[in-house]
């Protein structure tokens, strides 16, 4: 069961970190757009 649990956990951690990376990138792009609007 432990080995069965590891696979979805690893998949989920990968997805989570990827979403955080995308979120950070979007925040940066939004910031750039705001500054360019000023």
């Amino acid at each position: 069961m432990i080995s069965l649990a590891i696979i979805p956990l690893i998949v989920w951690v990968g997805i989570f970190l990827y979403l955080l990376m995308v979120d950070r990138k979007l925040s940066r792009l939004e910031r750039e757009q705001e500054i360019d609007d000023l």
Partner: protein
Amino acid sequence: MQSTESTQSTKPGRAVPRSRASSQAVAIPGLGWKIWAGVWMAIGIAAAFLWVGPVVGFTMGGHGAKAFFFHMPNAWLATITYVTGAWYAVRYLRTPRTAGLEFRSERNEDDMKSAVSMELGLLFSFLAAVTGSLFAKNEWHAYWVWTDPRMVSILVIMLIFAAYLVLRGAIEEPEKRARLTAAYALVAAIPGLFLIWVLPRIVDTLHSGPNNAVVGGGLGGNVRLVLYAFIMPAFIGLFVWLFQLRLRLMRLEARAQNPYNAPNGSLR
């Protein structure tokens, strides 16, 4: 003195040049609840596999029921996206278009939210179909059974979502695109919700057994606790996060394509 702005020329698809802010750290909005959702999901996955015992009546020594933890939330979220897609479509169609102005941002928001809902609906219905197929292989020794109404209905649900995206991509003019896709999202909710909620209850399908186990309390307290206290809230957090990400990206794209649309809807 060296210019503080990058001398990089504007890249294709980028309406504004890179500014100095790109090198500064930026905060992720709502980081707290996003981390909570991530941790909650991890706890739920660990509990599902390490704490919840076998469920009587399922294959793999009763452990085949663990597919519920990932199949049910996806199916529920596919339903929620039908509702939210139709809701924002109604809001868009009800907002009157003021003659003489560009595509206003306030109505833009409802159109974009409806589109994001339908995109996520395709994603979650696909995941529900995949997890359901894996469960079906364990329980009934076939990934797909064409004679089963439930399995065929999830395919139709995916096609309904996909058709929305095709329609959206086929129309270039923004106002026309928003109006037609809003009408589609509204109308599509009716067969979509029928296929999800009504059809499985009026015909006998392979899905009836597991469905009765869920409704009739046959899954056991541990399964329900992990599913409703950990997995479902984490999936809802994931849905909100994905919704927010996609919406923010759509806003950026809309602004980049039409820089004359200021955030408050006025013309510059």
